[in-house]
Every structure is written in C-alpha cells, then in structure tokens.
C-alpha cells in the first residue's frame, strides 16, 4: 500500500470511513449482542424494549458450568482440535513436500483426487462411519473425533501446504542438494524455515475448522467426548427461554477461537486461498 499524503479533510475519505465502520458494526452487531446478553439476567435478556444499560452479572457463567460441566466440553474441544491438526499436518506435510519438490507424472491427478474426496458430503459417510465407530467401540471417544476431523481436513491441508511449498524457489533446494545435504538436513534447514508460514496458516485454519465442526461431533459424540459444538446444540431444545445462559455458554464456546482468530488473521488469509491469491 502506497501511503499517499492526503489533505487533512477529504469528503471522499470521510464518506468511506463512515460507510466502512457502519458495515463493520452492522455485521458485528449479532456478536456484540450475544456478548451483552451473556451478562444480563434472564428477565433483562428478553426485556422489551431491549435494555442497553444494565448491571452486568456473572451468574450465567456459573450456571453454565454447573449445569453441564463446560470445562469438560472445552477440554474435549481443545484436545480434539489440536490433536487432529497435528495428525493432519503429520500426514499432509510430507505428502505436500513430495509433490511440490519431486513432481511426478501423477501429481496433478493426485491433488485433484484428494480434493474430490472432500466433495463427498459428510452425510454420505455418516452411516458407515457410525457403524464402524460403534463396532470398534470408538463411539463417543476423542480418538474417533480426532481421526474424523483429521481425515476431513486432510485434502485441504495437502492443497494449502502444496501451494505454499511450491512458492519456495526450487533453486534453493537444488543448491542444497548439490552441497550433498541429506533429506533430513534439507527439511530442517530449508523446508521448515521457508515453509513455516504455510505450515502455520494451514494449522490455524484446521484448528478453527475442527473447533467449530458440528456434524461429526453431534453424531459421533455425546456426554463423554462431546465438544463445545455439542454442548451448544443441547441448548436448542425448547425447554424454555434461557437466553442469558445460552448466551453465556455460546460466548464461552466461541471466545477462545474468535480471539485466536483475531490474532492469526494475517496468516489465515494467506492460507485460506491455497496460496492462489496473492
């Protein structure tokens, strides 16, 4: 971005500033509202007209924890999303490296095939995966979710890493090979330092996707291995209007990953596009 010097006041700039802020606040509004509601009493939460000024209470957060052991679900979310990301990276990184630097006749076909497995809707695999999980006693275990999350993210991970690795100039690797580096040295001295950005953004995106994954969590897990997505869904049953508690639970479920997302947005943007957009 060129930092052109602007006059102190330009109507166009003022207009653009106002418009941009208006759009941003409008789109962010539902989250701001969720945040406010989480600190209201149940009566304040459904007050008509809505209350903007009120004495905030932490009561809801206590009740959420008491009612359904939030911490257990949060722990499950952390474990399943982190480990599935690690597992995914362990499988995807070597494959992406092999395809980016040892291009073969079938590389393009393999990449296309991998992405096409992502086209199989999750629901298409639901019955078999459910049956397999049941037969192997993996229903409602963290392991089942870790494997399923890793597998469903794997094609996207390979693609992202592949595009990032391809951006590393091959000459650098060739020079290293001429100097007689071993594979391990090549990875440690060239690939990891230069590809770290890509690996990080891939990991970040998969972490977000796994944390928010609802289909498999709802169908394969329950009280023991359930993630925060399952916990929140349990609030959808029509057992009365508990908006303040629902808001508190929702806030606790999304806050970690939203804040995490804010801090990593730059890396995420690069990763999200398969490196196709620069």
């Amino acid at each position: 971005m060129t930092s052109r010097r602007r006059s102190a006041f330009s109507p166009a700039l003022a207009l653009r500033t106002v418009a941009a802020w208006a759009v941003a606040l409008l789109l962010f509004f539902p989250l701001a509202w969720l945040f406010l509601t989480a600190f209201k009493t149940e009566l304040q939460a459904i007050a008509v007209p809505p209350q903007l000024i009120f004495a905030p209470t932490l009561e809801n957060f206590h009740e959420v924890q008491e009612r359904s052991d939030y911490l257990l679900y949060a722990k499950n979310s952390v474990i399943t999303s982190v480990l599935s990301t690690v597992l995914g990276l362990l499988l995807a990184a070597p494959a992406a490296y092999a395809m980016a630097f040892h291009r073969g006749k079938f590389t393009r076909d393999i990449l296309m095939w991998m992405l096409s497995t992502k086209m199989m809707p999750a629901v298409g695999a639901l019955v078999p995966i459910y049956v397999l999980a049941q037969k192997s006693h993996l229903l409602d275990t963290q392991l089942a979710l870790i494997i399923v999350f890793a597998m469903s993210n794997l094609p996207i991970m390979v693609w992202m890493l592949y595009s990032h690795f391809k951006d590393i100039p091959p000459e650098i690797l060739e020079a290293a090979r001429m100097d007689g580096t071993t594979l391990w040295q090549e990875v440690r001295l060239v690939l990891l330092p230069l590809g770290m950005g890509g690996i990080a953004s891939t990991g970040l995106l998969c972490l977000v996707l796994s944390w928010n994954e609802a289909f498999w969590s709802l169908n394969l897990s329950a009280a023991k291995a359930g993630t925060l997505a399952t916990l929140i869904a349990s609030y959808s049953s029509p057992e009365g209007l508990f908006w303040a508690k629902l808001s508190a639970a929702s806030l606790m479920a999304i806050a970690p990953i939203v804040v995490f997302g804010w801090f990593s947005q730059k890396q995420l943007v690069q990763g999200l596009t398969f490196g196709a957009v620069k």
Partner: protein
C-alpha cells in the same frame, strides 16, 4: 532411491485418505442395496433399487434438492457480491481500518451451532428478537422469520458466516493489484465503474473462482444451522439433501434408504463441482 523417498512420503496421506474414501463408499453402496432398518431387524435381504426408489419418490426429495441449490446459489451470490463491495470499500486506508477488519472477520470464527442459536433467538425471535424491535420501531408488523421464511433465515445465517471469508480473500487479492495501471486509468479519466469493469473485476476473477469452489465444498453439507433452528421445517421448507439423509438415517433409522440418499448426494456434489474443480485446478497448476 530418488523416486522411493517421495513415494514413501506420499503413501501415508494417500493411503489413509483412500481408506477414508473407499471404506465408507463401499459400505454405503452395500447398505443401499439391502434392507437395513434398525427398527425392523427382521427385515433383511437384497433390496435391489428399492431404497433408491423410496428416497427419490419421497415427497421431501424434490424440495430438498431445490433447497440445497437455492441455499448454495444464494449464499455464494450474496457473499461474492457483498464481499467484493466490502473489500473495495476497505481497500484503501482510513481511520480505524485495523479494527474494522477485526470486526468484519469475526463471524467466520463463530461455530455454526452458536451462529444458528444466536440468530434464531436473539435476532429473529418474533417477540423479543432485535429484528422484531426494529420492525416495531418503524411501525411495521414483526416477522416470524423461522416460521414464515425458514429457508431465507438459514440463508441469512450461512451468508453472515461466510461473508467474512469472501471479503478477506478479495481484500488480499486487491493488495496485489498493479497500482500503476490504476493510476494511469485515473489520469485518463476512467470513471469508477469503468475501473471496476476493466481493472478490479478481471483482477479478482481468480479469487472469485477460489471462493466459489471452497464455499461449494462447505455449503453442500450445511447441517448445524438447520439442525439447531428449523429441523428442516416447517414441512420441508428448509430441508436440504444433507438434512434429509440425516433424517432417514437417525430419525427414521433406515440405514438402507439413508445410504441410497447418500449416494445421491455424492453424485450431486460431484456433478456440481466437476467443472469448478477443473477451472480452479487449471488456475492453480502454475
């Protein structure tokens, strides 16, 4: 040696992914051809194409296909159009741009179940919801969104979630635009619409293709928003193919019919994506 190592490195990913694809697919094909209802374990045996017939002639089937395509099409259209507009709006610096970016990106990190409940209760509730209050403020009759416009409501939720994604990608793409060309066009007196038509949009073409492809992958399987808000209803008004199969499998316990439906979904997804994968694939294969 030179060829062995790459193959060894590729093998784990290909192997696991192959299993992940072929085992469920094989089982699905098998289940779809037999009578397999968890509530009627005595009825077994080869069913031929009965399950497919049952799924396709289900009165909900047509509605589900239409809803799936409507949802997919509208969300993609809305997010691409608004995404481009917002990206252009915040492309050049203005006070508070960093904060605006953070605010804009946030909905993408919200889990679909929270997204759905947030809109259902706090925004769209016909009595206490924020939208109802706004309607009343302007003297209008509040709308019962989820009952009267269920599919539209789901589209709003999903579009809200994916708009940040599109915006971010277009924003990133705009940063790589050739500024000299733009300056030249401005010097020559090109109007903003002309700049949009001949410079901005062509430049964004590739990223639009990427956004459409990725959204397609994720939107064909929209589930949580429907599960937690309308449960597909009222009637079939907001049932998509994913949800219809889910209903057959876990609410009707008919694994055979659900499997037939799943195979249909696979075909639908592949047809819908075939040309796009090619398009984007070519783009990526530098």
């Amino acid at each position: 040696m030179k060829r062995l190592i790459p193959r060894l490195l590729l093998a784990p990913a290909i192997g696991t992914l192959f299993l992940w694809m072929i085992v469920p697919l094989g089982m699905t094909i098998y289940f779809s051809l037999i009578r397999y209802n968890l509530m009627q374990p005595d009825q077994t045996g080869f069913a031929g194409l009965e399950n497919f017939e049952f799924f396709v002639t289900d009165p909900s089937f047509g509605a589900a296909v239409v809803n799936t395509l409507l949802l997919l099409g509208s969300v993609i259209l809305v997010t691409v159009v608004l995404g481009v507009a917002i990206a252009l709006l915040i492309h050049e610096p203005f006070p508070g741009r960093g904060i605006v970016r953070v605010l804009l990106i946030s909905p993408f990190f919200v889990m679909p179940t929270v997204n759905a409940l947030l809109w259902k209760n706090m925004m769209m509730n016909p009595i206490y919801g924020v939208l109802a209050q706004v309607w009343i403020f302007f003297g209008a009759q509040p709308v019962d969104w989820l009952t009267d416009h269920p599919l539209f409501s789901v589209i709003v939720m999903v579009a809200w979630q994916w708009l940040p994604f599109a915006t971010l990608i277009f924003m990133t793409a705009l940063q790589s635009m050739d500024t000299e060309q733009l300056e030249a066009a401005r010097m020559d007196g090109a109007t903003y619409l002309q700049q949009l038509r001949y410079l901005y949009l062509p430049h964004l073409g590739r990223s639009i293709a990427v956004v459409v492809m990725i959204e397609m992958i994720f939107l064909l399987g929209v589930f949580a928003e429907i599960y937690t808000t309308t449960a597909g209803g009222p009637g079939d008004a907001s049932t998509n193919v994913t949800f219809l199969i889910f209903k057959q499998a876990l609410l009707n316990f008919d694994a055979g019919v659900a499997s037939a439906g799943a195979l249909f979904a696979v075909v639908l997804a592949n047809v819908a994506s075939l040309f796009l994968i090619r398009l984007v694939g070519k783009n990526l294969d530098k």
